[in-house]
């Protein structure tokens, strides 16, 4: 089943990280409104392959909005025009016949382009490796119900933990700041009793790593929260800042 939308796509093509890229125009025809944005890309890639042209590289995996792999900057917005969804969950019914759609990769110094629309987000892994965990070796745990946690704290921690690490916050921020991502993990663990022993050490290590990766600072524009497909709240940044300042002022000796 094909549909009746005809579109003009302007897509960023870049062979690899060492060469210049450019926007290339591709027309696509007979697009169905029921297709996802990535399925429209599948159609385009099939078309390119049949013409003997190299298909467009883009990151994607689960296609149900949870793995965080897909990452397209569509008409100037991370994950496109619809709020609260990732690119893979954006459907063509959000566009009109005849539209021109510009698709670019995430742009940030800390996310270098790998190819076309694919970028390297391994900086996020290194931030987590710096402290985004609770040091609990396998087998050391007490009974799960031995430590009651208020529903409010558990739910608020969960809301922060819902981050999928896609990087839309960084891509959309004019400073390419990763504060929303980092603060979501800091908050999740700071809200839980299990996270207390390493609370101040954690925030300092993670922020230090974040800075060393070349992410910018936060200037409170709130763009990250507006574009986050999982609705991660900017209040996490406030919570992180509070812990960070507390650590620097009162608790620094605990973290060397």
């Amino acid at each position: 089943m094909s549909g009746n939308m005809n579109l003009t796509l302007k897509i960023w093509r870049q062979k690899n990280g060492n060469v210049q890229g450019e926007l290339v125009t591709y027309p696509v025809k007979n697009i169905s409104p029921d297709m996802s944005f990535l399925e429209m890309f599948d159609v385009l890639n099939e078309q390119l392959i049949s013409e003997g042209k190299e298909p467009i590289a883009f990151d994607h995996d689960c296609r149900e909005g949870i793995c965080g792999m897909c990452s397209m900057f569509i008409n100037g917005r991370a994950h496109g025009p619809k709020e609260g969804v990732t690119t893979c969950q954006l459907h063509m019914r959000s566009f009109k016949d005849g539209d021109t759609i510009v698709v670019e990769p995430w742009r940030a110094t800390a996310f270098p382009v790998v190819k076309d629309l694919v970028v390297d987000r391994s900086a996020f892994d290194r931030v987590i490796a710096a402290g985004g965990f609770i040091s609990a070796n396998t087998g050391n745990s007490q009974d799960a119900n031995a430590l009651p946690i208020s529903k409010f704290n558990a739910d608020t921690a969960f809301d922060a933990a819902a981050c999928i690490g896609c990087g839309a916050c960084v891509a959309t921020c004019k400073n390419a700041s990763a504060m929303l991502f980092v603060s979501a993990k800091v908050s999740q663990l700071a809200l839980l009793p299990q996270g207390q022993p390493e609370r101040y050490r954690r925030v300092q290590s993670m922020v230090a790593q974040m800075d060393s990766e070349g992410f910018g600072n936060c200037t409170n524009t709130g763009a990250c929260e507006a574009e986050c497909p999982k609705g991660i709240s900017i209040s996490n940044i406030a919570r992180m800042n509070r812990d960070y300042f507390a650590a620097k002022i009162c608790k620094e000796e605990e973290v060397n």
């Binding site: 392959i49 070796n137 009651p148 969960f158």
Partner: protein
Amino acid sequence: MSKLNSNIPEGNLSEKWTKYRSSVPLVNPANKRNLEVIVVGSGLAGAAAAATLAELGYKVKCFCFQDSPRRAHSIAAQGGINAAKNYQNDGDSTYRLFYDTIKGGDYRAREANVHRLAEVSTNIIDQAVAQGVPLAREYGGLLSNRSFGGTQVQRTFYAAGQTGQQLLLGAYSALERQVGMGTVQMFSRHEMLEVVVIDGKARGIIARDLISGKLERHFGHAVLLCSGGYGNVFYLSTNAMGSNVTAAWKAHKKGAFFGNPCFTQIHPTCIPVSGDHQSKLTLMSESLRNDGRIWVPKKKGDDRKPNDIPEEERDYYLERRYPAFGNLVPRDVASRAAKERCDAGYGVGASKMAVYLDFAFNMDRYGRVEANKRGLQNPDAATIRALGKDVVKEKYGNLFDMYQQITGENPYETPMRIYPAVHYTMGGLWVDYNLMTTVPGLYALGEANFSDHGANRLGASALMQGLADGYFVIPYTIGSYLSNEIRTKNISTEHEAFAEAEKEVQERLNKFLNIKGTKSVDYFHKRLGKIMWDKCGMARNEQGLKEAISEIRELKAEFWNDVRVLGALDEFNPELEKAGRVADFIELGELMCIDALNRNESCGGHFREEYQTEEGEANRDDEKYAYVAAWEYKGEEARFELHKEELKFEAIKIAQRSYK
């Protein structure tokens, strides 16, 4: 002597694991530091194993094809994880979880493995909470549980509809902690393309750096495959686009037997296919069956809107056929029942290949409870519905949003349309009690192995098994092998076996690019998927399977003559990656059909039309088929040879599975 030795410890079923764990040989900490372990895959099984082995002191290398280990497909599991905690005081126990799992698997799983799984299930919840995984809680601060299919107790722990995500991020954070300490070396965007076997033992892998395209040689004293399932052989499934069988298939061709390949799980509640462009199917969590009622119109071809069809003209067919379990029958039973209704002409929606999953009844039930709590006297229907809607929203909000985004329909107002879709594969590499394959030193964990779910997996058991294997089984059982390897020095990757394996991989990759055919990789994948779904899907028969085998052979020949893979070897090239995966899926597809044809019975997800009861239920043949079919690869010509591992049931009386 049979070639298969499952190495199940002697003794009473309930004491086997405890005794074995206390007597399995150990490796002293100084020696652990000299032993290297390769882990392929970073999902629940892989991340848990890599982190835990590193905590123990082993040197670990972990590989994943995604850009970050956090993206492994375990992340997409929605509903929950089972554990025999009996927090609800509703009669749960280790034995009951064990029994439910064996019965749910239609008596085709190994008792000793399943009992061990049930035993360690409780440790998993403790571990996850200690890591800061925010599982759902009640107002008293204690953990909450929900019901899942195939059980009559509430033992499923959850984090909204994102349980897999939260558990994986827990394991991922443990893994990253080790990466930060330098005990795990992480290789993201790397794909394993060959196992290196030296003197009969797995000693390493060949991996391709997906960014540079370079082939790399990695040595390990042991290799753990935690590479997930092969549902994408059907092209359309709930698996992620990248999920593949390649690692397991390479191992199979290097001597690891493949167990029960035809056992695939068709999940009953997925969003129906909307058109040819479709690239994947989206699951609606089984937990929705807690609060939804499944029905079709009683009249054939009824075109009225669902809300216009009065109560007495609806057929709640699961409640009608299976009064004891109702909407919570296991997945295989629910899927077949939906197919039966649609095939008989009662399906709904434009394609008529869907049934309704309706929340109205339970929204009203919750609404009345809420109204009572708030002391509202005689609330009207609209108030009740609004209050109930809020409760449902809190439980399943993200799933309802996902449904609306994909279908354009509002499931709070109109019932969801659902249809079964490929979801999970119970089959996988054959492993013994230690999780070791038939190649010494080569292990398979999680969905990649065949061991715990028999012919049908119960909901919320995949997360349990992945984490059990990674956190609590392999760290002990690997000792029985590695304790004999402490004198094995690291083998140089200049060894001829490495060179040979790399050369094979290189030649194969060259071949893909040099075919220069006319059809894309996806074209072949879609055709394979259609053959598999039509002839080796929810229902199978002898004739169809024989046709499928010959069609797949033709497809394979065509693929190797006419596939078009553009781009180069030494660059990021997703089409090249896909070509390798689809080539392996084609070969696996044939083996699945061979296995399905061999198994002249119906059990769990394997439904052979010739073998059904008068009521249309699966007709198992315990006399002839109470065995694991483990297939050995014998080369291009001789193909596959069957080995049987007899299943002995000592603790459970094998019986016809009834949910009536």
